[in-house]
Subunit: 348 residues, 4 copies
Amino acid sequence: MAARPDLEIIEYRPEPDEYAWTFGGAAPVRRLAPGTVVECWTEDCFAGKVRSTDDLSTVVCEYPHFNPQTGPFWVEGAEPGDTVAVHFVSIEPARDWAASTTVPLFGALTATHLTAMLHEPLPEVVWIWRLDRDARTCRFEARDGSWGVDLPMDPMHGTLGVAPANLEVRSALVPDAFGGNMDTPELRAGVTCYLGVNVPGALLSLGDGHARQGEGETCGVAVECAMDTVFVVDLIKGVPCPWPRLESDTHLMSTGSARPLEDAFRIAQADMVGWVSGEFGLSPLDAYQLISQAVESPIANVVDTNYTSVAKMAKRWLPPRDAMDGTHRRLAAVAEAYRASGRRAAGG
Amino acid sequence: MAARPDLEIIEYRPEPDEYAWTFGGAAPVRRLAPGTVVECWTEDCFAGKVRSTDDLSTVVCEYPHFNPQTGPFWVEGAEPGDTVAVHFVSIEPARDWAASTTVPLFGALTATHLTAMLHEPLPEVVWIWRLDRDARTCRFEARDGSWGVDLPMDPMHGTLGVAPANLEVRSALVPDAFGGNMDTPELRAGVTCYLGVNVPGALLSLGDGHARQGEGETCGVAVECAMDTVFVVDLIKGVPCPWPRLESDTHLMSTGSARPLEDAFRIAQADMVGWVSGEFGLSPLDAYQLISQAVESPIANVVDTNYTSVAKMAKRWLPPRDAMDGTHRRLAAVAEAYRASGRRAAGG
Amino acid sequence: MAARPDLEIIEYRPEPDEYAWTFGGAAPVRRLAPGTVVECWTEDCFAGKVRSTDDLSTVVCEYPHFNPQTGPFWVEGAEPGDTVAVHFVSIEPARDWAASTTVPLFGALTATHLTAMLHEPLPEVVWIWRLDRDARTCRFEARDGSWGVDLPMDPMHGTLGVAPANLEVRSALVPDAFGGNMDTPELRAGVTCYLGVNVPGALLSLGDGHARQGEGETCGVAVECAMDTVFVVDLIKGVPCPWPRLESDTHLMSTGSARPLEDAFRIAQADMVGWVSGEFGLSPLDAYQLISQAVESPIANVVDTNYTSVAKMAKRWLPPRDAMDGTHRRLAAVAEAYRASGRRAAGG
Amino acid sequence: MAARPDLEIIEYRPEPDEYAWTFGGAAPVRRLAPGTVVECWTEDCFAGKVRSTDDLSTVVCEYPHFNPQTGPFWVEGAEPGDTVAVHFVSIEPARDWAASTTVPLFGALTATHLTAMLHEPLPEVVWIWRLDRDARTCRFEARDGSWGVDLPMDPMHGTLGVAPANLEVRSALVPDAFGGNMDTPELRAGVTCYLGVNVPGALLSLGDGHARQGEGETCGVAVECAMDTVFVVDLIKGVPCPWPRLESDTHLMSTGSARPLEDAFRIAQADMVGWVSGEFGLSPLDAYQLISQAVESPIANVVDTNYTSVAKMAKRWLPPRDAMDGTHRRLAAVAEAYRASGRRAAGG
């Protein structure tokens, strides 16, 4: 079946010299009208250079060429004060393997450049994970000994963002108010991400596909793989979004990225209080109380330049209203139409 | 049906003058042989004094008389270097209401005595939650406006611990290596908690029942209620436990309590690496990698004197071995025998 | 010359079995009337067991027997809500050597039990410092190589406190609102320390003499030595003191002890704003502004269970009033009378 | 007297449309050969718009136009891996007044955008300080009441930096490894600052003059004024500098900028351990011990996007060697020659 005539679809697969390594500071690669479906491909965070257990990232990669982004996309009509919405139709591993590794002086359980100590770095070890895209599994094989196990595949993007405010250009390794390297497993297919616009055109990019990751990304690196990803973009005029928010069919989520981790937690929870009191008619203190008893608070990462915390509220426990101008519902319908068009198999 | 003859069962309901307000420093109220089933009752964190929206905790309660504990129990044979295991058979609200409140200068989204600022405190507001023990729901009613919602009941103990090390006596409001006021929703019926013993007899206490709470306990107070609780106690000789660990039928969990929150996260994750490499045969770096991709990291509290973070690993993703000497399996069997005895309805 | 007849003087030198290892939880060794001069002796933080570079603290010392305190002293008339004042007449090294060491998993530049990591501990190395009490110097000798240098002697007590609030007993290694192991070089002779009283009699102890230390006590251990110390105690009835405050002839100082370090900073600075606006007639915002431009903020320690920060304001930049009921001036006069009595040489 | 013929002197006073608002991302305004003396002028952090107590910064200023920088200067020959040295000959207030203010949701004792809370912001109040450049004083006048006091003038630059690494462009409000808005009172005349070069030409800028500030810059704003500043620039080829270092005639200083504040402390102290062991011949553990007992640790700021901590070691306690290739001594001689030339009065 052909795509429905009213679906605007764009395909984009960057060449290696087209990757963006920053949020802000890169020229747009495509212009997107709100409502457009984008079929794109993203390279892994090692630029595809860690392919075996012999490929140490400190040898085969070179700063600052970590975490290549696909984009930026110019969203037509986007101006500071608006919000861009990105709905993920599908996120599918583009290879049958993925890589993970320890990185010297990076990760939650090691001294780092910011948590500076006198220890020698931990050893650098690479794991290659086998992905079974039919069985939807990621296979871990121990490097010491022969034990292995299949974990469920749960593909996501570690990185999604727009150009920052305040004239800044940030490394694609950074999560902050503009989004970026948030590394939350909640950013999966079926979810809409809201990002406040800081510059004309928003300049949206994404990358850092993970076949799966634990909450906190403890060693600093997930099950990193290239992705075939389909998303729909939309624009909410005149509605700001101070920190990235996510919406699924069942949940609202606010994110905060800061150090120390309690500040990331505070941002996410305070934004959720503001969201619930602003859009659902509860007073701020009633929202504070309800959230205190109902919120899930999955940690995203405790390893990046800023740590990321998520506040997650079930919609069924809130007054029955649409948030963010009903954008998630509208984009989910576009995703459904796209899937019905048969252009790409959803979920693979 | 009568209790099985081999079940040792003790009932204990403290009078108000028998509460313990500290971990350590209180005389034991009962002696428990390992394997004993204890049927007990715990008062809520306000000592039952906040009963209506007019009962401000700053008026009706008086420092240090917050968070009364039931206990301490002397565990026979417990010596420093051993581990006490507590398996929760059931945790059931003892009243059909529960209380929550904002507390001036306490909570995650307010200045506090430790995060000192020049702001006036937030207003003190009380919410009384209605508990429907048959429907298993907790009803929130907004204080401003008429909206209300039923949340699932998910009873748990905010506080469980033993006497601390280093000759200390700690307020029952504190979570630390001895357990205490961890405020994690993971401490529910069906779960075994492991606590390292610091003094002869361990001096185990528990309290701070919550009909439910969100992850992080954002406003500082959960849905606080008195509890009828049944637990089995056991002793693992010669096995230390540096930080409280939890085990359910499906998961292993490590906890860390510290500030800043990333240190609590680090403790829990590092303990899980040590647990998995120590008891399941993976090398430390293989454990680090597997945990990084598989762990859930539910935040417990970001409001107490120490913040608490949990690292949660599904057992099905680990080599098929029993942890902690098979204690959880053994205690779950005792719980099953107890339930079969018909002495108290399980789950209510 | 004999002591003035109106000077009440008490001598106290504890036997090893009389040391206190905690704040709170120890029976008083002496009763002191306000105004009493105490001539005492304190052992070093290793209980005198680290005497050569071969004496590793992990071998010769045993938990919890670190940081022995001299006391507690019962201050007559002290009740919760009062403030005890301790003025140091002299603090003099009692030996001609002092010890320092790295301690595995302790210090600012190493993984610790709270900042948990997967690194091996740093090596344990002991330095013995030679003290020249006439030249007022401490001699550092490198362990690797032959270089050495004389640093100025600047004797101080790392630990001074009263029994905690909330029924607690805390290890002598902990700094908190009750004082304790603050490890600030500002606690030297000529300084008055104010401590809020939490229990009848206050239960004042002191120890942890340092011939000198850097700001932050980076490796976790100062130039540790036994001390001959003379202090005057006083009581300010009906005046609370939420966090330890210090006063010298020239400065007012507030301390905060917490984690993360910014919370310790906030406590100290907010207390100084409260002190200056409460006792010197400035509005809180004027005090905030003046302090922002005038304060010195010497870090005390970044290694203990809580980190300690000091806010230090020159008196000459404040309206000319006496703080804390003129206690410092009054105690300095007692100190002068004591020195005039010739009982002990001041400053040695 | 004319300048010595061998002194290369450049004057530069930016027009308002020439200010840089970022580190990185701005075109160089002048090229400087190593050894050049620059006579420049910097505007205050409010771009000169807060001139009376009626000028609220939230009204008269507009994001992102805070903290204008003079520069960037292209340092000839500078390449990544080199170090640029900036020696301050003089820093003199360019006006007879300076401004300070509280800023809503900014400062150490208030909720902020990163330490998010539910409090209303503190009031916005402006103070205008009178500067007496002959008497070398800054006059504080209370806004509430009539009290005032003269504080010593101690002029400094809050902001000095080079273009960041990793392709980034950072707001001039940010301190980080590239320098930037460190806000340390140690950056005064007579001091040399070392900055690692990240991009060709280094792209050096400076601004944010303070007539004085307290340690920590508690309310977030110092005594802000335009400055007439003279500096000498130099280049140290092939010597990297991972974090900004300072050198005076008497002290070596390392800086760290991060959150939480203990991480800033760790960076500065670990860099000092590396500096002393790398350039002065002590082993790392001997350096750790010596620094632990000798270091001063003045806090710089606890208010900016990153907090800044300084580790300060007296040179007289180190082996008698020149650090950083003798650059400070060499630049101090150039400064002396400049002063001898009579072009501008030193110190005013």
